[in-house]
């Protein structure tokens, strides 16, 4: 019964990430993660990764152009702390020394979502929020965008121009 609920949540999450113009993929387990990430990184692109979690370390296994600082990177690869199926959002927060600028400055953000961290609804997520939240919690839904000129949609303004999400 639990498995069915989880699968529904993941499918819903992926449908909504697509609606928000994010690329999305789902992996059975960690095995194909490095290969999947490799396919998303263009030749010559420099990559930043905090490399602090098991998934992050596995993710960059096949990459060669790593840089130590997100401000000079083309791409950030990182594990995020949660996701919300209802809206197709990923959640980044400042707990544990994580830098949110890493998902803001580079033009391409690749987010790894552990499947057990997907919440079904906004209520599910916020009900679990602590009464003393970390300094910054940001719900990210798709790449940056604007419609400020004649309401025409343009993707990619100051934040990333591209967001890819891998559910593991």
């Amino acid at each position: 019964m639990n498995d069915v609920v989880k699968i529904d949540k993941i499918s819903l999450f992926l449908v909504n990430t697509a609606r928000a113009a994010a690329g999305a993929d789902r992996l059975k387990d960690i095995e194909k993660l490095a290969e999947t990430i490799l396919k998303l990184v263009p030749k010559g692109a420099s990559v930043f990764c905090p490399q602090s979690t098991k998934l992050e370390k596995a993710a960059i296994g096949k990459l060669s152009r790593m840089v130590p600082d997100y401000s000079s990177a083309n791409i950030t690869v990182e594990e995020v702390s949660a996701a919300i199926a209802e809206t197709g959002s990923i959640v980044c927060d400042s707990k544990g020394g994580k830098s949110l600028q890493a998902s803001l400055l580079p033009s391409h953000h690749i987010a790894i979502v552990p499947r057990e961290k997907i919440f079904a609804t906004l209520e599910d997520f916020f009900d679990k929020c602590s009464g003393s939240p970390p300094t910054n919690i940001t719900l990210i839904t798709g790449p940056s965008r604007t419609t400020d000129i004649e309401l025409e949609l343009a993707i990619g303004v100051h934040g990333p121009e591209r967001l890819d999400i891998i559910v593991v």
């Binding site: 940056s144 965008r145 990619g156």
Partner: protein, 454 residues
Amino acid sequence: MRKQTSLNFRANAVRAIADSSLRGVVKKATGTFSSKRNIAISKIADYESLRKKASAVREDVLENLGTYLDAFSSNATRAGATVHYAVDAAAARRTILGILSSHNAKTVVKGKSMVSEEIQLNEYLGKEGISVVETALGEFIIQMEDEAPSHIIMPAIHKSRQQVGRLFADKFGVEYSEDTQVFTKIARQVLREKFLNADAGISGANFAIADTGSIVLFTNEGNGRMVTTVSPLHIAVLSIEKLLPSLKNLPSFIRLLPSSATGQQITSYVSIITGTREDGEMTGAKELHIILLDNGRSEILAGECRDILKCIKCGACINVCPVYRTVGGHSYGWIYPGPMGIILTTLLTGLANAHPLVSASTFCGACDEVCPVKIPLVELIHKLRVRKVSEGFSPVKEKLGMRVFEATARSPFLFSSGEGLAKIFWPVLGSLGGEDIAGRLPEPVKMPFRRRME
């Protein structure tokens, strides 16, 4: 100082009506906003219940605002922020200048904030030698054109792509283009350097959360995130009524605000900022100042129009207003246009400075239908009309005309003479419009219907 021109509403409107390019872009944008809003709302399960719930939350906040503000203040302070209460625009400006000066801050990057327009912050700081760069694309554009925003969500709604193209070609020496993608790439490049090197970031906030002391920003471009996380010094300005009791209230407003404002299910970014950077954290301002602006809102809270303070600044009422659609935002002469603008402008700047605005409504009720927190906008505008009359801002001709109207309507004698209301009242109407209104009306009939019924 940009002067308020609300007293010239009619003349402003007449000019706007003659500007067919302006009318074209405003009509198209408001129409698109409204359709997108309708589609987004149709996807929300049980939207009416959500509206009622959100309306009740906002009413509770207003009912207990003092308590919630105290809680917010102490929780924000506990998290490391410094909270300042600014009684009016001058106090807010002085406080902000003081903070910037004490850090010797000369360059500021700024996110969109209607309240910062209300206090005329940019001009004031500019005079003190502090350069403020607006970073939201719409605000970036109108800053370069030295214009006021004409809509609370899309400040450059009155600009066509041709106008923006010419502006960018002029200011940045690039080839003329009408492609939005080109504009955004230029903005990204030009502003990136400013974000990274600014001494301070100034932002608004969509909500403040009482039980955690957090501020919440709904943004799409990423500039809001830059302004609030890249500089070590962050100043957030917001008006006192923007509170929500708890983070648990956020889901309702995450569903309501983006859908009503831009037709999105959710904005690209929802940032919840709580205090300053802690030990071991790599994100967050080292110093966060939160300016809570009153500027007349306590008075409004105590009065008969206090429901306007439930407003969550989504702009949905502006987008459906037939008057706004025809005359655009600048006609209203201040910062807030459309139905919510009529009410807030009149209450904040006073009838003496804004009374023509209360006539700028046909009472069609389209605004009431779309307000996500069920503010009775038509009723509030009507209350202001009653005040306009009782406080002496109505033309004498009109007051006399209304007395004549009542006398005629109550007098069987006047009616039995067969003239009916028309012959007596319509010339009075004509004198109000200052033009040949009789030309727009058909001729009154020789034998009124009542005569046929005798």
